[in-house]
Symmetry: D2
Subunit: 230 residues, 4 copies
């Protein structure tokens, strides 16, 4: 058996993570200081190690900001609507996939720009047209979103990329669903940004601009994560 | 069902890939030109699309080099010993995981350098000591190799990284086994290089040098792939 | 003397570059095909080598797109207003600094995020406040723009970065002037984007998010270059 | 006038830097702890701000390692031979150029791989042959080293890269001279590594492997910096 650190430790850190998010949503504003590590550990009845791990993940996800020697501060408040798309103790595992996608998808976009055949480009452009239409309608758009990202993975001509992406299917779908939902609660701008970001990626792949495609993909994912914490 | 392009197409490209490798091993030297795409397609009884895909993957893996308008040339000859570690039509899928690992593992090393706790560092350093000992003995060393890479993933404090890495377990193990085996067939230098490369990664993580850790990891993987094609 | 390839070759390529831009502005639309290399060489009375170099640079700057075996196509049309800010044969040398800035400034932002002292952060935030004010007024804003970018270089605590940036002063100032000017010719959106992009960089530096700062800087420069070719 | 923070502050930080290096060379071993910031400030008769800046730069250059809340520790001891190639208070400014070169040269190698013409490749390969010969002789080799790096900059077809590199001429020459000198004081291995690293860059550029070229260049520079602190 591969893993030898207790899965229950991860489960506990997931719970600590979601309880800290509840504290934030319950009354803290951007810039407010979180209770100290030891305070949180005591109030959750968990070890400081577990709470520290949760705080590292919250900072990694852009929700809090650690100031050296001064504790953790709220940087962004997750949207309340996230709760409609996932159980609260799945929040950490779901948001954590972003860092994996930053790595995987920006390199996939880079390779797709370099290697895409005319047929692969046609598949990407058709997926883009469908996504644009879905986003600008009031229909769900996550299937179209997934389809475009997958078409980019395929254009790497390396099946290992697509395989790695499909292992993230569940969490990515949750995020894509939540992303469109939260964007639509606000004015038109976030939806327009989603269209524009995808179109920039596709344009770079079309122009075989490898660095531009990697940059546009990473920017899109980074902005997408922020849109979940508006 | 997620995938809609025929898996059999991928299987065919895998076969074309391994048959081209057989042609190379059968008598081509570095710098020699491969038969043309249409020639290969005809002799394999496959479509040009399938052969083109195989050629794109061979270039991606550093085995061939495409010269614009002038066909494909042999860049490196895979070691014959690879055949002792995998079926020949698994070669493409196995080597293809390198590009995914370039992306995943260099970012994992970067994040590990930034976030590792003293305990996580201790786990990494102990795995390094075991790997060094195993590499310098004549025992197998792939379990120790895997354990070090996994310890680095864990030090990201993002379980999504470790999860993504574990999906690559089978192919990575094959490669780690073949890598040590092929290195030992040659003089002492390749084994010394394997020790040194890992030690450089660990040193950067210890020093919390995020860019240095990412660079050292990517270099290690890139050199490792080349060692399979000595 | 360091350089041994004829400076006049570069001057010629600069001229070929600006003459091709004139052809584009004179009547080609996005997607149109440029005359062939040999056609251009003949009509300019220049060698094909010089014209090829100009075409490589035009593609590098995102103005044209090379399609393998099919010539060069217009990708973006430079704004006519660029002529108000630089001589036409300076266009190539001026736009060419973007690639150097992509490299230098994204790494500078990364290091600034990691190393900035509270005083350096304060200097960056004050420069940001001034830039925001200037951009939202109808006053010139290039001095404020420069001051913010320079404050970020300084926060690397490596004087070699600031020194390298100051060698780009002339071209960067031309671009900053032209950028604001061209943005103001259009609706409010480009100016709002300029404010937002800078604010994202500053936010990441404040939060010591090294990768986020590098990404935001590179995105800002990439978008800035596109705004000159609206 | 562009710069408004006192140049004398930088001069002071340069001096603090070289005095800390003297302390290290005077009797500290790798792993030893440096005197505290306030201790150093007092003994140098300088402000803590200046000493802190020097410590940040020493860590940036890989000489010391900052441990959170526990002060600075020696990570590498600069070679005594550096003193034969530069005044001691130039050490900081000289080593500081490495971070600029990491950014500039890895992107230059990436672009050179993508854009080099057959003529530019021939220039690079001829410079490589000369460098190999010079390194393996007992003659100076820094001119050949410079010529190879410059040929790579030229192959970007973007004169702004070469211009930026030439601004680093003085410091880079100092480093190239010192690098060969220090490598020759030791056994054959460091010189062999210098040959091999350059050859790997050139091979990637020949194969138009953009990511490989950028990686090999960055690795070469990173290893080169370490060779100055053996």
């Amino acid at each position: 058996m591969l893993r030898n650190h207790a899965p229950s430790d991860q489960r506990l850190a997931d719970q600590a993570y979601s309880r800290i998010v509840e504290i934030i949503l319950g009354g803290l504003n951007v810039g407010d200081r979180l209770p100290s590590e030891s305070r949180l550990a005591e109030s959750f009845g968990m070890s400081r190690t577990v709470v520290r791990e949760a705080l590292v993940r919250l900072a990694a996800d852009g929700i809090t900001e650690a100031r050296r020697g001064a504790g953790s501060y709220v940087m962004r408040r997750p949207s309340l609507r996230l709760g409609a798309h996932m159980a609260f103790d799945e929040l950490s595992a779901t948001l954590g996939t972003y860092e994996v996608r930053f790595a995987l998808e920006s390199d996939a976009a880079r390779l797709a720009a370099r290697r895409r055949s005319p047929e692969q480009l046609a598949e990407i452009e058709s997926a883009m047209a469908d996504l644009r239409k879905a986003l600008l309608s009031s229909d769900p758009a996550h299937d179209e979103d997934w389809r475009l990202h997958r078409a980019i993975f395929r254009a790497t001509s390396n099946p290992a990329f697509e395989k790695a992406f499909e292992h993230l299917h569940e969490e990515t779908m949750r995020i894509m669903r939540a992303g469109v939902d939260i964007a639509r609660l606000r004015e038109a701008e976030p939806i327009a940004a989603m269209v524009r970001e995808h179109a920039t990626i596709v344009e770079a792949i079309r122009a075989q601009d490898a660095d531009g495609a990697a940059l546009a993909m990473r920017w899109h994912l980074s902005e997408g994560r922020k849109r979940l914490m508006p």
